[in-house]
Symmetry: C2
Subunit: 332 residues, 2 copies
Amino acid sequence: MRRGITIADVAARAGVSPTTVSHTLSGRRQVSAATQAKVQRAISELGYRPSAIAQSLRTKRTQMIALIVPDIANPYYPAVARGLHDAVGEDGYYTLIGSTDGRRETELGFLEEMVARSVDGIVMFAFAIDTADLARVVGDRVPVVVLADVFAGRHDWVRVDDAAGAYAATRHFLDQGISEIAFAGGPKGRGPGDLRMAGYRRALTEAGLAAAENDIVRSEYTTEGGRSSVAELLARRRPPRAVVCANDLIAIGALKAAREAGIEVPTELGVAGFDDIDAAALVTPALTTVLNPAYQIGQRCGRLLVDRMTAGYQGPPREVVVPTQLIVRASG
Amino acid sequence: MRRGITIADVAARAGVSPTTVSHTLSGRRQVSAATQAKVQRAISELGYRPSAIAQSLRTKRTQMIALIVPDIANPYYPAVARGLHDAVGEDGYYTLIGSTDGRRETELGFLEEMVARSVDGIVMFAFAIDTADLARVVGDRVPVVVLADVFAGRHDWVRVDDAAGAYAATRHFLDQGISEIAFAGGPKGRGPGDLRMAGYRRALTEAGLAAAENDIVRSEYTTEGGRSSVAELLARRRPPRAVVCANDLIAIGALKAAREAGIEVPTELGVAGFDDIDAAALVTPALTTVLNPAYQIGQRCGRLLVDRMTAGYQGPPREVVVPTQLIVRASG
DNA sequence: CTGAAAGCGCTAACAA
DNA sequence: TTGTTAGCGCTTTCAG
């Protein structure tokens, strides 16, 4: 590993001061064309690249954004990461990613580390920490965009309209004249399942149908969870004609349960999912689902952050709600 | 944004020198228990966090690793990212991620940027650059692990055993007494399809069967590509009894083509994929495929890099071949 | 066991 | 239009 070339080396070679080299590079003050040429020549002859570290120490800006997610291997988050990447890339920001597994200690540790590294902004999918934690660890040192309702009103916040999405899916069945509609949710109080259930409930109520507690089953957000909870639903004396699911994996489990019970989808049972993961379009029958636009969410996070970082915006916390969209396929 | 607390503040408060604070933190020299206590108290009273930037400027180490991939939203790469993340995390390294879309200019730009930011190591899925580019931009400043055969022998290199995987899938059909086996590949010369085809060929040859050029179709690495190329195969007078596909998306397209042609899988047509993406287990029938262990690949990259970065290894470039594994499901 | 001082590579007052 | 100088916050000789 050879020693690097510094701005002083370039200055010496070009016969100017380091200041002038710095300014030719940044354009933050006038430099005569002749001098610029000399400097540029020295730079390319030496193969000089400024040290981002030294720049950061001086300017207090690192041009780095931290993205903190529970699991980067879960396909939802890479899509967010890509949206963020694309949104901030043109402003010269890069993304530092960490997976926390949704564990409190890891979430806190990662936040501390990111603050120590002076990232210019943080996008955080917080599962286990609260406002007090965030205030203590980050304070007002770094702008944060959160994706969790516990921080509502205290930080910029981006979310998908979960309730409206599930509402649309439920309406979709109602509009087909189906009224026996069940909901296959996630574990109580964890993840977005409850918000989605609220949308389902509202659609039924508006249609003059009471959502019986009986029509709601719960499981983990997995294929196996959906399979077993929906199997139970289908084994009843009066099984539902349709089931709205809290996410696509549960819905794929529902398809499996129907197949095992000899029930045909969509003629005997309509199935709707939520998220539109890649697999949704690939299963048989292809899944009707609610698009959860991860890419857009990442973009919006990026824009909120860039606004704060460039001081283009300094007002109170904003809430951005990204709309969902019903994607009708073969399952309902 | 309030001004940060520096090591000098802590030193002042604890009544010691910055040197001593530094050493209590790093443990790089003996500090008396009493002094340590004073320093720790001052640190927690002030909420001091050392600046990673200043540390990096001094020590020339950033504890950051760059991961450069064509598309972080493609589910294969996040799994690699997670493996890398987990492998280097315990050594205190964090991962900076960039998506290049496989474009030469973007790949080069990203590399330059990472060198300027003094990352301690680079993991690169190179699609468009060559050894000369890498030598010019990175030189010997930063250890690089590549995942592309054009750099063979010049950098540490990790790859999956593509040929062996496809060989195993082909053998799987041969062992069932099936000898009319086709191959649905990717575009010629792009991606791992050709290596996988070589494994397919070898299995046939070893079984005393000539692989006719006729038994090979090509398409993009997509579901639609697989659907159309396999549809053509199935429309022939003597359609194959099995098809080995260059990746899972093509294989899922093959399932679709069979369904459309009224051909039953696996009884009339066996289908095998490659990669074992999440969707492979979810389609109907579930896909028999070759596990491409992205997570492990990420881990191995991480370990190679950590070895280099900590100077635990300084020898010639190494080549790590990660084994594949046939996963038999319902499609063949 | 502890401290003083130098300097990593850069930028931004301030001065010419 | 350009240069001089003083740090940014830390680690590490070197010297007690």
